[in-house]
Each structure stands twice: as C-alpha cells, then as structure tokens.
C-alpha cells in the first residue's frame, strides 16, 4: 500500500527584526542606483553578458559537457531516502530527461558569461516530487543565487503555503525566482505568487523580446515557441512551451542584474516593466 507523502516542515527563515525608520536613519537608506530620466533596454542590459551572476537551474539536472551549456559551477541532486529524509548530494548523473539541459542552454545563450548551477529535483518518480521540489528550492535559496529558474510547477494545494513562504523569502533575500506559468486551466504554483516573475510564451523569434501582461496573474511573455535547445546526448532539438520561455526571462534578468547588481527583485521587476517590448523602453 502506498505511503502518504510526508508533509514537509514549515520554512524557518531568518530571525525577524522589528521594522521602523527613525528620522535620523532616513538619510542612510539612499538608493544606490542612478535611475535615468527614461529607463531603456540599453540602460538596463546593454553590453551585459551576465558575468558575476549565479543562476540556478532547478530541474531534471544539466548535462555538464554539452557545448551549448558550457561549464557548470556545480551540480547537486536531491533524493528521498527510504526513511523519507530528503538529502542533497553531488549530482553524478547529469540530466535524466533533457529538460534541465535545455533550460540551462537557453540561459547560457542569453547571458553567456553567467555562472550556471544545477539543482536536480526530478527523476526519482512522481511520488514525493512535491516535497523534493520544496526542499530543492529551500536549499537553492539558502545558497544565495541571483536567479533561480523554475520551469515547473505543482498542483498540490498542500504545498502552496510553503512554496509561498519560500518565494517571499527569496524575494526579500534578493534571489529572483522565475517560474513557468500554466497554459492550461489549472491552479498550480509557484508561478501565481506575486513575489516571483511568472512567464508565458510569445511566438516571436527574438530571444530578447518580452512583453508585460497588463492582465495578470502571468506577468511576462518571453520566447517559447520553436526554440532550438540543447538536449541530452550532446544533441539539439526544437521545442515549445512555457518551460522554455522561462529561461529566456531568467537570462534577461541575469543580464540586468549583472549590469545593476544592487537591484532588488522589486526594482528588477520595475525595470522589466519599463523595458518590456510593449511598454516603450525596449530600445
């Protein structure tokens, strides 16, 4: 008989300070960004290659030696033991599906000098996949990545609260979560949370074209149709889906953060809005 999936523990973040802003302190919280009169794509990411930004691919693993992916900073895999404990181990298997390699290749193509790290949360079966995903995300947030690409989702409501806490935690720790929206009429997470950058697909071919959606919950559309991506076995395939729009957006976020590392996720989202192809700052 199947055992019910173990309910993960609540997320315990940092200790909480009391928040207020005394009059004398208001001068000390100056914003370290020189905002131009008009925020343009050129100001936001012109000349950036993504150098200095660590990007996590939370997925099926990444084939490390694929020419379209290049070197990885590191790779771990999460596994559920027979006792139900979830452990983080060095990943020696690479990609079990091809999907993670595809996502990594897209980020690399947009932000060639970024640092890529693979966190494998898939491949050990359907059961337990929700709790492994949660633990993988928790681990990744703890590593302080600049961007975490999540081309996946869960429909299980029991995980939504914890995922929401983790997404908010990432947001306040300056880790940008970029998550695939669903193109089917189902409730799924974490893309619906406002603290993540949610992504659907558009049909254009320019990898840097993205649109702001004035009718959320999905907030941005990026290239996701007929994309040539790296796959396992050193191959390339053509693929479509929001799963592939998401790493395009992750790559764009990486370019902006590399040029403006002081941006918070809130500020980054504002820059994305102002430079979206349908908003006016796209040149």
């Amino acid at each position: 008989m199947a055992q019910p999936e173990q309910k993960p523990e609540r997320y315990t973040g940092e200790t909480l300070p009391a928040w207020s802003l005394p009059a004398a302190a208001s001068a000390e919280i100056g914003i370290g960004v020189e905002w131009p009169e008009r925020v343009t794509r050129e100001w936001a990411l012109g000349g950036s290659t993504g150098a200095g930004i660590r990007v996590c691919i939370l997925d099926s693993g990444v084939q490390p030696d694929h020419p379209l992916v290049g070197p990885l900073e590191g790779a771990v895999a999460l596994r559920k033991t027979e006792e139900g404990e979830i452990v983080v181990e060095d990943d020696t298997e690479g990609d079990l599906c091809g999907h993670g390699t595809a996502c990594a290749g897209i980020v690399r193509s947009v932000a060639p000098d970024c640092s890529l790290f693979s966190v494998r949360v898939l491949g050990a079966g359907f059961k337990g996949s929700g709790s492994v995903l949660l633990e993988g995300l928790r681990w990744a947030i703890g590593q302080g990545f600049g961007v975490i690409n999540m081309s996946l989702s869960t429909t299980k409501k029991q995980f939504s609260g914890l995922l929401h806490e983790l997404a908010d935690s990432a947001y306040f720790r300056r880790t940008v979560l970029v998550a695939s929206a669903h193109n089917m009429p189902v409730e799924s997470y974490p893309w619906r949370f406002s603290s993540v950058i949610s992504v659907g697909s558009h049909e254009e071919t320019d990898p840097l074209t993205f649109f702001y959606n004035p009718s959320p919950p999905v907030e941005f559309f990026a290239r996701g149709v007929n994309v040539e991506v790296p796959w396992i076995g050193g191959t390339r395939i053509r693929s479509s889906g929001n799963s592939f729009a998401t790493p395009h957006m992750s790559g764009i976020c990486t370019l902006i953060l590399a040029k403006h590392p002081e941006l918070t996720p809130f500020q980054l989202k504002s820059v994305l809005y102002l430079t979206a192809s349908n908003v006016g700052g796209a040149e």
Binding site: K157, T235, G241
Partner: protein, 217 residues
C-alpha cells in the same frame, strides 16, 4: 461498507463495463490524433499505488499488444510532463538516442516529434497524453498549444470519471456478494421500461419498509 462506498458500488453496477471504458480511452486518442493530423496518439495513466505510468490506449502507429505495459513515473518525456505538470512540445526527437530506445520499448513506435501534455483534474495528475508526429504542414503555434490544453482538460475529466468507476467496481469486488446483488438489481432496473419498472419499484419499496421496521419474530 459505508453508504458512500455502497452508493459508488451500485453506481458501478449500473455504469458501463471495463470494455466500454476502454472504448472511451480509445475515442480520446482517436480524436487527439485527428485534431492534429498526427500519426499516432497515446495515453498513459499514472498508477498511484505503484508510482508507474501504464500504457492504456493508442491510436494509429504503435502496438496494441503493449497496452498494460508499465514503466517508472519519471521515465523520459512523459515522466517529466507528469511530474512537472507542464506540457512539452518537442521536434527532432530522432536525435535523442535514449528517448528513441525508451519510446520504442514503451510504444512500439519511434516518433520524430511529440506533443506531451499532463492530464490534470483538480489537484491530481491522472496521466499523460502524447500526440506523435503531428502534421508538419504548419509550424507549431500557440493556437495549437491552446487547443492541446483544452483537449487535455476534456480528456482529464473523462479519465477522472473512468478512474472513479474503476474504484467503485473494485469496492464492489471486495465487498463480496452483498453489494453485488444490489448493483445487479439496480442495473436490471435501469434496463426496464417504465411499465415494467413500476411494479418492481413497488416491490422494492415494500421490501425497504419491511427492512426499516423493527420486526421481531
């Protein structure tokens, strides 16, 4: 047996047989194949107890004899789609040697292109629908993606009904003869015309009265 289980078991007796459910699955894959002018379409259901994907139906290319074949729920593209709940459209699949081998073993047919979509109903991922080698006369578009999503939603509702019926029938089998008699009566009643049904209902009503009365002999 709880009232709920009895109700489900009796419903199963009235509802169609396994062969008719197979016909429903077959119809789903036939329509999926037709919508996309594809060479084949297939359905895998997720067996929650064993955590395996079970090959349930195929239309077009492929082997009927593979129906019932099982493989781990995280295998290949279908496994990915099940676990992530995200649809995936892949072309040039022949370049992926591992996929070719796995697919050949599980479907008897190696496609060049595949649309794979999770069958989601409420919180549950019931299985995966694959559409293999769709017509390449038009390039894949978001319109096709939307159509695939809409069709998958309809298929998932049908699969949910099917799984409920199977569950109810399992309850019926486990209950031994008791619920079976009631289910057979309910099924026979369903087949009667109004004129025949009326006296039988009177008889059953009288039986119900007797059973509800605290009779001591």
């Amino acid at each position: 047996m709880t009232d709920q289980n009895l109700e489900a078991a009796v419903s199963a007796g009235v509802m169609s047989a396994e062969s008719e459910h197979r016909a429903l699955l077959q119809s789903i894959v036939e329509v999926a194949r037709a919508i996309f002018s594809a060479k084949a379409a297939s359905i895998f259901l997720h067996d929650e107890d064993s955590d395996e994907l079970v090959f349930e139906a195929v239309a077009g290319e492929g082997s009927d004899s593979l129906i019932g074949t099982r493989f781990p729920s995280s295998t290949g593209v279908a496994g990915w789609v099940l676990v992530t709940r995200q649809p995936l459209i892949i072309d040039d699949l022949e370049q992926d040697p591992r996929h070719a081998r796995e697919t050949a073993e599980s479907t008897g047919y190696v496609p060049k292109a595949m649309m794979s979509v999770p069958l989601l109903h409420e919180e549950r991922a019931l299985g995966v629908l694959n559409v293999l080698d769709r017509s390449q006369s038009v390039e894949f578009s978001l319109g096709q993606m939307e159509l695939l999503g809409l069709f998958a939603n309809q298929a998932a509702i049908a699969l949910d009904l099917l799984q409920r019926a199977r569950h109810a029938r399992a309850v019926l089998t486990r209950s031994g003869g008791d619920a079976g008699v009631i289910a057979r009566i309910a099924s026979a009643l369903e087949d009667l015309d109004d004129e025949q049904r009326e006296p039988v209902l009177r008889l059953l009503g009288a039986l119900d009265d007797v059973l509800r009365t605290d009779v001591s002999f």
